[in-house]
């Protein structure tokens, strides 16, 4: 009885000393606080990425399953070489997948450039507006951003269709001036996908550019004016360099998602415009070849990481990402 009591006492004491030790040990406290996040990121980010890597070397079974092995077939197929035909045959090389990758890269590049051109003046306008009005203008940028992504793509169907709003307006104008007009087929074209992408990601560029422009002290503009710089020179020597962190952050926030998005091309491009995202998605749903999909997904990741790495090494990693 007394023995049990004593054991209980020492156990309690041990618990107490453990607690005290934890109070002293800053490192253990930090680990404990970060522990749930660490576990979550391990299980749902790091392990999935490693699994993707492992599976990309595997082979598919007829019913869409995976046989673990080490073969580079999927990567060879991505590069356009078939593994099934004899060497030397002309039809063995099919650049389809390389074209898809290239198309995604150029689309992401074009979207980013267009978005910068559209976002910059608006961000500048808001940053130079009266402080009391800035929030309202920003609020107007946030509303479309908070409207659902899928709904925003859908809106463009209503505009771009043959009987859509844009053709309706042009037709009405043409009628007014007695010009012959046949409705344009704009939906399901590469142009429709580009417009959709620009529309989707424009707010992601406006916010970081605004953040960096807003930080510029007014006295810098005054100094530039006092020293005789005209507005072009002031922009080139003062405004633009100081707003670069915002442009860099915005570029990362736009370029990376455009590379991977498949909804915009799916809905606005029909079956005409196939991007890497569509390729990956189809391997997992229609084609049932997760091993090839995994390889494509890894190539996509590596491609974006390389572009981001070189881009940020040249321009620095904008801290505006967090602010936006």
């Amino acid at each position: 009885m007394a023995d049990a009591h004593a054991r209980k006492y020492t156990r309690a004491q041990k618990g107490l000393t453990m607690f005290q030790r934890l109070r002293e040990n800053k490192s253990a406290q930090g680990t404990l606080l970060a522990f749930p996040t660490l576990v979550w990121m391990m299980v749902l980010l790091i392990i999935p990425l490693l699994l993707t890597l492992v599976i990309s070397f595997g082979r598919r079974t007829a019913d869409g399953g995976v046989i673990f092995s080490f073969s580079l077939d999927n990567y060879i197929r991505l590069l356009g070489y078939s593994t099934k035909c004899d060497s030397g045959a002309a039809s063995c090389f099919d650049p389809l997948y390389v074209q898809i990758l290239w198309r995604s890269l150029t689309l992401a590049f074009n979207t980013t450039v267009l978005v910068i051109l559209l976002a910059y003046p608006l961000a500048y306008f808001i940053a130079r507006a009266h402080p009391k009005k800035r929030n309202t203008y920003l609020f107007l940028v946030l509303i479309p951003l908070w409207t659902n992504f899928v709904i925003r793509v859908y809106a463009w169907i209503m505009l771009l269709r043959k009987a859509g709003a844009i053709n309706l307006v042009i037709g009405w104008l043409a009628n007014l001036f007695h010009i012959q007009f046949t409705p344009l087929e704009m939906l399901y074209t590469p142009g429709a996908v580009l417009v959709g992408m620009v529309y989707e990601f424009l707010p992601f560029m406006i916010l970081p550019i605004y953040t960096s422009l807003e930080k510029i002290d007014n006295s810098l503009y005054e100094a530039a004016a006092d020293l005789g710089a005209n507005s072009v020179k002031t922009f080139r020597r003062v405004t633009l360099p100081l707003s670069m962190p915002g442009v860099v952050a915005g570029t990362i926030l736009v370029f990376i998602p455009v590379m991977g998005t498949f909804i915009v091309s799916d809905i606005l491009g029909g079956r005409q415009v196939i991007l890497v995202g569509n390729l990956i998605q189809r391997q997992f749903l229609d084609a049932r070849d997760p091993t090839f999909g995994s390889a494509a997904s890894l190539i996509l990741m590596v491609l974006t990481l390389i572009v981001t790495y070189f881009y940020t090494r040249k321009f620095g990693f904008g801290e505006e990402i967090v602010v936006a």
């Binding site: 970060a34 749930p36 660490l38 999935p48 003046p121 130079r128 509303i143 409207t147 503009y221």
Partner: protein, 293 residues
């Protein structure tokens, strides 16, 4: 010199960009009152109230008048289910990710521990890789894991582990944590430790110091992190697309499914409701923040 002077070029392009941002939304909302059932062109508003009457593909009379499609929407069980799923996922995932994300932010900002650099790096990964890469990674994880477990325990039929609401919630938490942590970390950077030291000197223990000093001071950061996480969850398509299963359809997934088949004014009505709710929510929030400042 007027510091708020802007060139006419800036003004013109600003107006054009705002027009570009809003024209699609306005058209989208207008079509939700369309009397045309096919929804190809806008055939005007539904003119009168009464029992539903259709003439030449156009609805000329409805119990709800011009709001016909909104009434239809409220009767649509798939939509109400999807809305309930969307909100359930967003609420649970926001609460969990805010709590553990804030803990991680405190750990990363205040403490030194062995896996600190690794933790910080893992939080940046979801931001610098396309969402689809993470989405299919999680899909592979769940499908391999579930196949293994189902096989191991001989689970069949309804007891089989499969994708559903739980997998969506767990995955949402995973992509929300980095955003919460980074926002709270930014807030903690400007935090003066003297307040906490003063509290401890006055005899408060760690818990009381945290509850009475630290938490109130970082609360705006925590709340804006939570808000960001909540909106990301509501908006998410890609991660949900790869992790949802039968019965766990969310609104974005439902709309996407519809778009690939038919385009009815019901989708427009749904969009109009969504945009209106968002507009009111952001407006209220704006008011609230202005009062705080």
């Amino acid at each position: 010199m007027n510091p708020y002077r802007r060139s006419p070029l800036v003004m013109v392009s600003t107006i054009l960009v705002y027009f570009f941002l809003y024209a699609p939304i306005v058209v989208l909302m207008l079509y939700s009152f369309n009397s045309s059932k096919a929804n190809v062109t806008f055939d005007g508003f539904i003119p009168s109230f009464g029992n539903v009457r259709v003439e030449g593909g156009n609805i000329v009379q409805s119990p709800c008048g011009p709001f016909h499609w909104f009434c239809e929407l409220s009767k649509n069980r798939e939509v109400t289910n999807a809305a309930r799923n969307t909100l359930t996922i967003a609420f649970i995932a926001t609460i969990v990710s805010t709590v553990i994300g804030t803990m991680a932010a405190l750990a990363l900002q205040r403490y030194n521990f062995r896996l600190k650099a690794f933790s910080q790096l893992s939080l940046y990964i979801p931001i610098v890789i396309p969402e689809i890469v993470m989405g299919i990674g999680i899909l592979i994880l769940f499908s391999q894991l579930f196949a293994y477990l189902n096989n191991l325990f001989g689970l069949t039929g309804d007891s089989r582990l499969s994708l559903g609401l739980n997998t969506v919630i767990v995955s949402h938490i995973a992509f929300m944590i980095p955003f919460v942590t980074l926002v709270v970390q930014a807030r903690l950077q400007g935090f003066d430790k003297a307040y906490e030291e003063a509290a401890m000197d006055l005899g408060a223990n760690e818990w009381i110091t945290f509850r009475r000093i630290t938490l109130p001071m970082i609360l705006p950061g925590v709340l804006s992190g939570a808000l960001l996480a909540f909106t990301l969850s509501l908006d998410d398509f890609v991660i949900t697309f790869f992790t949802n299963g039968p019965g766990s359809t969310t609104l974005p997934i439902y709309v996407y499914g519809l778009l690939r088949r038919i385009i009815t004014p019901q989708v427009n009505a749904l969009s109009t409701v969504w945009i209106t709710i968002v507009f009111i929510a952001v407006l209220l929030l704006q008011r609230f923040q202005n009062r705080e400042a």
